[in-house]
Amino acid sequence: MLDDLSILNIQSSLRKLKEKKIGALELTDFFLNRAKKLEALGAYITLDPEQARKEAALADHLIATEGKDAFIKKPLLGVPLAIKDMICTKDLKTTAASLILENFIPPYDATAVAKLKAAGGIILGKTNMDEFAMGSSNENSAFFAACNPWDTSRVPGGSSGGSAVAVAARLALGALGTDTGGSIRQPAAFSGIVGLKPTYGRVSRYGAIAFASSLDQIGPMALNVDDASLLLSIISGEDQHDSTSAAVAPPKFNFLNSENKEQSPSSSIKGLRIGVPKEYMSAAGINPEVEKIIRAALEKFVELGARLVEISLPNTNLALAAYYIIAPAEASSNLARYDGVRYGRRAKISPKDSLFEMYAKSRGEGFGREVRRRIVIGTYVLSSGYYDAYYLQALKARRLVFEDFVKAFQDCCDIIACPTSPTTAFKLNEKTSDPVAMYLNDIYTIPVNLAGLPAISIPCGFDSQKLPCGLQLIGNAWDEERLLKVAKIYESNTGWKDRLPPTVEVLP
């Protein structure tokens, strides 16, 4: 099985582990070796081979003694996973790809991580990202960029770029990312994998390093919809450590059980109303090839029995501006905690330096350029005299964007389909000199965060340069079950997920 990467995923690995055709340690070593061999892709900031192998050996022991029963309590037993370096892992360095947290060792696990561990998942290491999740290309990492496994001269997307690369290049079976404005979905699209941003409040944010708390969500990145669904079912749920996590029952994914008979596509999708926002498909900046691929995907849904409905999200044009006020505003407040006192970097100071100078120097040298930009913008829009004109105005625009979606789901459609990103993966350094050009890459993903909705990006084709393209499906709040079902039906009727990136077909 390990010599055929195309059939290697979480579900297939779990079957082999259950049947004792493969061991957890063997599987873990396989991925650790690949991660080392393909280090040049820049997927991981930190690998944790020692602990991962220890946990894998424990998993093997449990499987040996308890057999298949071990998987009832631990549904991810022996599954090697990667965690975005934005999410705290106990005793394992967590940097947010920032110099300011270069040596930070969290004394606790994020709830999502604790749940993966409790389910038997093996944490291989921490993945690369844009510093503090601010970026769409992974080039804002303070340490090194990551590159796209489909074409190493291109970016893997961001900010969860390392997690996307780790999954796409088979350096882990699945990963966690965080998504504030598209940071799971856009890199998933660029790297040809599945990425899900859950409904705001579905997954606890406890232990996720805060960027914009009203927008941030942790979510799964995986090779297929089943794997993403399984990871979601494990990490979701109310958490007393996060007051914004909702008391909503975790989604049930019975339909995923491969032993169950899959419902026939027509029964699940027949009559489904798929909304296609007219503002998105005609948007300036959408690459014609991407548009063509998305239209073909929409046709596929029609073929499967769904109905396309043109919908309008008239306030889409306000979303980007609102986001780039709200997210920096929340970031400037959240990042005020980095003061060089309790943890993180402290600048070298002279005995004459005041406390203020210590703060300012530590922050000045600890934060990278994009983070500084956003802190300054955020500070400005919250400052006296500008709060009403910018911040409050943005929150009002946010309501309009939110209501657009509410109305669409109430009146017109069950699910919304659109591109994840207006382009496929762009070249490294292509957009680094222009922050606004980089921001425009998020026009289809940002409104979803403002509205707190669940959305998934799934592979839906390749452009003429053989780069993967992502289809974004947006669901109504708390409707992940339908979202995943529809994604699964599309996936099983197309073969996009089975293609392997050319640069990663090396074996350890």
Binding site: R342, A360, A394, L400
Partner: protein, 120 residues
């Protein structure tokens, strides 16, 4: 180095807000953000900020007077529970991440300064 950025904005007839010219005092904002920057970094920041403000400024021209702000989609409500005795992080574990510590204390530069020597 210019610390004042003047941004020319298009005015709309139905808006009485002062939209024609707005100003960001960059030096003041950077100070509020507790960031110390080199001259080169300040210059970079200045040109970046102009581009970003140009993008977000279009929101100001729209009349949203009757719209309620949306801070968070799930609404705000208090979530109370009874106090519970529980575990806490060990002081030593927490202190280990500190850049400068003395025993069980974080060490910082002098906070209270001599009279007349205070940071404004």
């Amino acid at each position: 180095m210019a610390n004042q950025i003047n941004i020319i904005m298009s005015s709309t007839e139905n808006q009485k807000k002062k939209l024609a010219v707005d100003q960001i005092d960059l030096k003041k904002t950077v100070k509020l953000a507790y960031l110390s920057l080199t001259p080169t970094e300040s210059e970079q920041l200045e040109s970046d900020i102009i581009k970003i403000l140009n993008t977000i400024d279009k929101l100001r021209a729209i009349d949203l007077a009757t719209v309620e702000p949306l801070y968070q989609v799930n609404g705000f409500f208090n979530r109370f529970r009874e106090d519970q005795k529980g575990d806490h992080l060990q002081i030593q574990t927490v202190i280990e991440n500190a850049p400068d510590a003395l025993g069980r204390f974080f060490r910082v530069p002098l906070v209270v300064e001599k009279e007349g020597d205070l940071e404004q």
